[in-house]
Amino acid sequence: MKPVETTATPLVELRHVSKVYGAGESEVRALDGTELVIEHGEFVAIVGASGSGKSTCLNVLGCLDAPTSGNYLFQGVDVHSLTRDQRALLRRHYFGFVFQGFNLLARTSAIENVELPLVYRHVGLSERRLLALQALEEVGLGARAHHTPAELSGGQQQRVAIARAIVTNPLLLLADEPTGNLDSARKRDTMQLLIDLNRRRGITIVVVTHEADIADYARRIVRFHDGVIESDTLTGQGEQTGEGAA
C-alpha cells in the first residue's frame, strides 16, 4: 500500500479488512480485503463512487462496526481483542465522528447535542457549556445554540454534528461527507476549519467526500471502487507540514 514514512506504530492500520453484507446471491462485499495505514497527523480524503464502501470503511475505523474478517489495529492494538466497554472508551476519548446523516438527538438543543460527548467524559457543567459554545462558534452557529435540530436547516444540522465531533478535541476525526449539505462558501469555511484542526491541533483527519475540489485540500487521497482501494496518492499539499505527529 502507501504508508507515509513509519518510525513508531501507525495511528490506525487496517489489515485485510472485509465487510460482507448478506449471503449467497445477495452477498455484498462492502469492503474487500482493504489494507490501509494512517499515521498520526495525516489528513486523508476518501473518495469513490456511491456504494463503493467509503462509509463502511469509516464506520470500521470509528469502531462503530465490526469487520467480517481482517484486523483493525488502533495504535498497534487489535480492536477486536478489546471488550465492548473498552471500545466505547476508545470512541469516548480518541474519536470524533461526523455521520453522513448527522444523527443528532431529536428535541434536543444544538448546544446540548454538542455537550453530550463531554457529559460522558465527565466534564463539569460550566466548562461543558463553554466548550460546546466555542465549538458551535467555530462552525458559525453560536447564535443557534438553543435551537433543536428540527428548527435548523440541513446545513446547520451538519455543522452541529461537526461541532459535536470536534468539541472533545479528538485524536482522530472521522467525517462522512461533512460538507454534503453546505453551500460553496460554507464548504470552504468547513474545510478550512478541518485544515486548521489538522495543522494547529495535530488532529488526524479522515474525510469522505464526493467533491474533487474538497479532496484537493487533503494531503492524501484514497480512492475506493467496489470495496477495494483503487488508488492511494499523496498530493503536493502534504509536503508542507510533513508528519505532524505532535
Binding site: N59, G62, C63, L64, D65, A66, R84, D85, A88, L89, L90, R91, R92, H93, F95, F97, F99, N103, L104, L105, A106, R107, T108, E112, L116, P117, V119, Y120, R121, H122, R164
Partner: protein, 401 residues
C-alpha cells in the same frame, strides 16, 4: 457518572412530555383501580361481618316450620311461653332465652305516625340481640308480669316520632292503646344489608299477647349460647329438646328450625370474599390494560430510542451508562405514576367507603403489590428494549428502522 446519568434521564423525561405523561397515566390508573377495588371489597366484607356481629353474639334463632323450605309452613304450630321456660331450664349450653311475638303496626305520637315492627318480648331480648340503652331502661318485673302498656323504642322510631325531644316518659299510641316509653335503645348504625335494626318498638310479651295478638303464640325464640364456641352444642340441645316437646319421632323431619347466626355469617363472609376476589381480578385486568398501554408507548418509541442509543454509543457511552439512564427514566415514571395512583386509589376507596357507609381499611399488602407491579411494568417495557438496543453495534442501532 450516576449523577450525570440521572440528569440525562430527567432531561429525557422532560423532552418527551407526551410519552412521559402517557406512561405515567397508564401506571397511575392501573394502580389506582387495584387499590380502590380491593380496598372497597374489603370494606364491604368488614361491614357485613360487623353487621352480623351487631345482630347479637352467639345467637340462635328458633322458628317454627322446617328449615330451608321457603316461607314458614302454616301447619307448623307456634311456640308458647312454656317452650321458652323449658329451653331456659333444660339446655345447659344456653345463656339467655328471649321469646318474640311480633307484628307490624302504626305508632302514633301527636301529629307524627310511623309504621314499624312491634316486638313482644322480655328484657332478655336486649341482651341476646346486643341492644344497649341510650336513655331510660328495660321493663320492670311488674310491667312484664302484669302486661302493662310500656315500650322501649329504637332510634329510628324516636327520630320519626319525637324529633329532637327526649322520648322517655312520653306516651305513644298503638291502635287504641296508649304506651309509656320507658327506654330508648342506642343506635346500631345503618346496616349495609338486612333490615334497619333501629326501627322497632319492644313491649312486654304478655302485653303483646293480650292486647295486640289476642293469643298466646310465640313466633320465634332467640337463644344465646354461653360462649361462641358452645353455639353448636347449644343448637344440638335446643333441637333435641324441641323435638321431644313437639313429639317428633325419630326419622321424621323437624317442623321447626334452629338457625345459627355464626353459620350465616360464615356464609356471607365467603360470599364477600369471592366478591373481593372478583373486584381484585377486575382491577388486575385494568392493571394489565394499563401495562399494555405503557408497552405500546414504549414499543412505538423504540425506533427513536434505538437511534438515540446508537448515537450515545457512538460518542462513547458504555452499555451500562445507557442502561442506567433508561432504568432511571423508567423507574422515575413508574414510581411517579405509582405514587399518584396510590393517592388516587386511597381517595377513591375512602370516598366509596364514606358514600356507602362502610368502614375504611387500607391494607398495605395491596399497595405493595400495586407498586411492585407498576414498577415491573414500567421497568420491563422501558428497560428491556433499551437493553436489547444497547447490545447492538452502534451502527446497527443507528440504522434501526
Amino acid at each position: 457518572m450516576i449523577g450525570a446519568t440521572i440528569i440525562l434521564a430527567f432531561r429525557e423525561i422532560r423532552r418527551n412530555p407526551m410519552r412521559s405523561i402517557l406512561t405515567t397515566l397508564g401506571i397511575m390508573i392501573g394502580v389506582a383501580s387495584v387499590i380502590a377495588m380491593v380496598t372497597l371489597g374489603r370494606s364491604v366484607t368488614a361491614r357485613i361481618t360487623a353487621d352480623i356481629a351487631s345482630m347479637g353474639t352467639n345467637l340462635l334463632i328458633v322458628a317454627p316450620g322446617a328449615e330451608r323450605h321457603g316461607p314458614v309452613s302454616s301447619t307448623a304450630s307456634a311456640f308458647t311461653m312454656n317452650d321458652v321456660v323449658a329451653i331456659e331450664r333444660e339446655s345447659g349450653a344456653v345463656d339467655k332465652v328471649a321469646p318474640t311475638a311480633s307484628s307490624s303496626a302504626l305508632v302514633v305520637c301527636g301529629n307524627s305516625n310511623w309504621n314499624t315492627t312491634i316486638q313482644g318480648s322480655t328484657n332478655e331480648f336486649f341482651e341476646v340481640r346486643g341492644y344497649k340503652f341510650a336513655q331510660g331502661e328495660g321493663f320492670t318485673e311488674t310491667q312484664l308480669q302484669a302486661g302493662l302498656p310500656v315500650c322501649v323504642i329504637g332510634e329510628t322510631v324516636r327520630r320519626e316520632l319525637f324529633g329532637q325531644q327526649d322520648p322517655v316518659g312520653s306516651t305513644v299510641r298503638i291502635g287504641t292503646i296508649t304506651f309509656t316509653v320507658t327506654g330508648l335503645t342506642a343506635s346500631k348504625g345503618k346496616a349495609a344489608m338486612g333490615p334497619d335494626q333501629d326501627d322497632l318498638v319492644v313491649i312486654p310479651v304478655v302485653t303483646f299477647q293480650r292486647r295486640i295478638a289476642g293469643n298466646t303464640d310465640i313466633n320465634s325464640i332467640l337463644v344465646s349460647a354461653l360462649t361462641s364456641a358452645k353455639t353448636a352444642l347449644a343448637k344440638g340441645q335446643v333441637e333435641a329438646l324441641m323435638r321431644e316437646r313437639r313429639h317428633i319421632a325419630a326419622g321424621q323431619v323437624d317442623d321447626f328450625s334452629v338457625e345459627d347466626m355464626k353459620e350465616m355469617g360464615t356464609m356471607l363472609t365467603n360470599v364477600t370474599t369471592v366478591l373481593t376476589a372478583l373486584l381484585g381480578a377486575i382491577a388486575g385486568v385494568s392493571l394489565i390494560v394499563g401495562g399494555i398501554g405503557i408497552m405500546n408507548i414504549m414499543l412505538v418509541s423504540v425506533t427513536e430510542r434505538t437511534r438515540e442509543i446508537g448515537i450515545r454509543l457512538s460518542i462513547g457511552a458504555r452499555e451500562r451508562e445507557v442502561l442506567l439512564q433508561f432504568l432511571v427514566e423508567a423507574v422515575t415514571l413508574s414510581v411517579f405514576g405509582g405514587m399518584i395512583g396510590i393517592l388516587l386509589g386511597i381517595a377513591l376507596s375512602f370516598g366509596g367507603a364514606i358514600a356507602f357507609g362502610m368502614p375504611f381499611g387500607l391494607k398495605p399488602d395491596i399497595v405493595v403489590i400495586a407498586i411492585l407491579f407498576s414498577g415491573a411494568v414500567g421497568v420491563g417495557f422501558g428497560y428491556v428494549p433499551a437493553r436489547k438496543a444497547s447490545r447492538l453495534n452502534p451502527i446497527d442501532a443507528l440504522r434501526h428502522e
